[in-house]
Symmetry: C2
Subunit: 344 residues, 2 copies
Amino acid sequence: MATLKQVAAHAEVSVQTVSNALNAPHRLRPDTLQRVTRSIELLNYRPNRNARSLRTSAVELIGYCVPSWPDGQAHLVMDQFLHALCTAAETSGRHILLFTAPTGVDGMLVYDDLHARRLVDGFVLSQTETHDPRHGWLKEQQIPFVSFGRVWKESTQPGPWVDVDGAAGCAAAVRHLYETGRRRIGFLSWPKISGLAEDRLSGWRTACRELGLPHDAKLAVRCPEDTIDAGAQATAELLDADQPVDAIVAISDILALGALRELNRRGLRAGIDLGITGFDDSPLASVVSPALTSIRQPMDQIATELIDILTGPATDATGNGDTRPSTERLLEPEVVIRGSSGPG
Amino acid sequence: MATLKQVAAHAEVSVQTVSNALNAPHRLRPDTLQRVTRSIELLNYRPNRNARSLRTSAVELIGYCVPSWPDGQAHLVMDQFLHALCTAAETSGRHILLFTAPTGVDGMLVYDDLHARRLVDGFVLSQTETHDPRHGWLKEQQIPFVSFGRVWKESTQPGPWVDVDGAAGCAAAVRHLYETGRRRIGFLSWPKISGLAEDRLSGWRTACRELGLPHDAKLAVRCPEDTIDAGAQATAELLDADQPVDAIVAISDILALGALRELNRRGLRAGIDLGITGFDDSPLASVVSPALTSIRQPMDQIATELIDILTGPATDATGNGDTRPSTERLLEPEVVIRGSSGPG
DNA sequence: CTGAAAGCGCTTACAG
DNA sequence: CTGAAAGCGCTTACAG
């Protein structure tokens, strides 16, 4: 492996000049730059990142904790998210370092260690939970981070975040179903009350109200778990009611698949007799028939914003200016229309 | 951040002794060790990894290229694999660095760069394809790597690998179905001929032959794509044949889900009227009803073996001893029995 | 525009 | 068992 010194000797300049050729080429005279560049190519020189990091104390590595399954819904799009995150990181010359950690506050030792030993510059958090302790802790330690997902139920959100407007997504799904002629739209939700679920539910409720559609509590079913079975059962309820629904907005693709199955069982046709939509546009959505209309989170944009915020000018690195507003970005999801919600 | 020097001053020893306390504690006298350890704790010292790596030229980081979807089957268990890989890496004091690269030989520039700039010590490869160029290239460059999955159709497999015995898995599924009384077992396969598909198919064929069951070509259907629809259609074929099958071994969970749907549509009960098995034990398997019997790859063991091989004594670092056999580990998958193949 | 020198925080032969 | 010293390969004020 060639070193800076060898390149310098070869190009007959000082190491400083070679370093500048790489990091501040405008400082060199064109002819010098060209000569150095030639030597770099000839010797196939690659700067040693460890040496650079030792000097600059920046590793250009971003930590991401791989969520441990079983977590239900989220991991069906995890590879999409990771791919987007990697790509965004690489665009800014960085990479993603993966690690595992216990959930809750116990895991913070791992985060702290990774940062203290300078394996990473900062963290991207996801799988944010209601009352997630990580954000507050990292902020207190002044360790750079950005969160995908808000910490719900907190009076103040610690630190910067990027999130998708679930309410807007569900509202858009309702409007889409309305436009295809549906007038009684049910909602399939999750069991435990979470900020995420309430957010999406509220979007359904608001849109129905605005369109003059029914939106009473009976139309929103909390499924006991995020499975196809539970989705099918809840769908059966909604179909067997005195006034059956003619469309269903599901809070996840899995539940929507359950709805699809129940329709199938009854000889009803999704997209014709009823409209069905899911959430996440997971790989499953395009694998069923009719394919599932689903609400897609803009993964690439999410990832880009996350990296932008994390690598941008430090929000609060000094500890002063604490009152400065955190960086917060709420992105719009998109309804990907497929067969299950009709031709429109 | 405390440094080695500061700890040394605090403990009133040389930096060398502190370093030894961390890396070779047996060299210190117990009382010295204790004193140093106390100083380390008091100052909350964490060794700077970049400095260490610069010195030792080992970064303790393993590169893994995130596969770009859509790739069909594999990404449903990607998070399981990543989690296992991370855990195994951490057990050996290492971490996973994620990156993206173009497929094929173009991507090798990325691999080379990552290694040359010392961002990683080596690579774990997965999504191995027939005629995958990466293995040969990395071997030639003497860049450490280990592959999850064999390069099929090569006369000699370049470099060490870990793989799962797909044939054994499918054979086990056939035997399991036989034990639950099935006597005419179909096979659902993929469109393009790949080493992976042929391997699994051969397991079905061999087991059927050994049990005296039919295994003619008509019983093995190549689905045009890895979707629920395709699986359902192929299942319909197998059921409408002159001699209908009473069980189906599917090469993927998705295809098995298609089989389940087709049975459902016909009023047939999986696990009672027919036995169905999938492959990969993806999150989907436990989310349907009846839950899907599926062949599970031992992810934790795979990951452990991969890291063991990669971090073990260099197989061929010197370039001599080229004839030494590569490290190769073929692991047994496990049939996870659920409702879709009957109570047994 | 270019160069000589110090230093980032470790580890590792080498002496004592 | 312990210590003084060199060096891993860079970057960065500081002079010239």
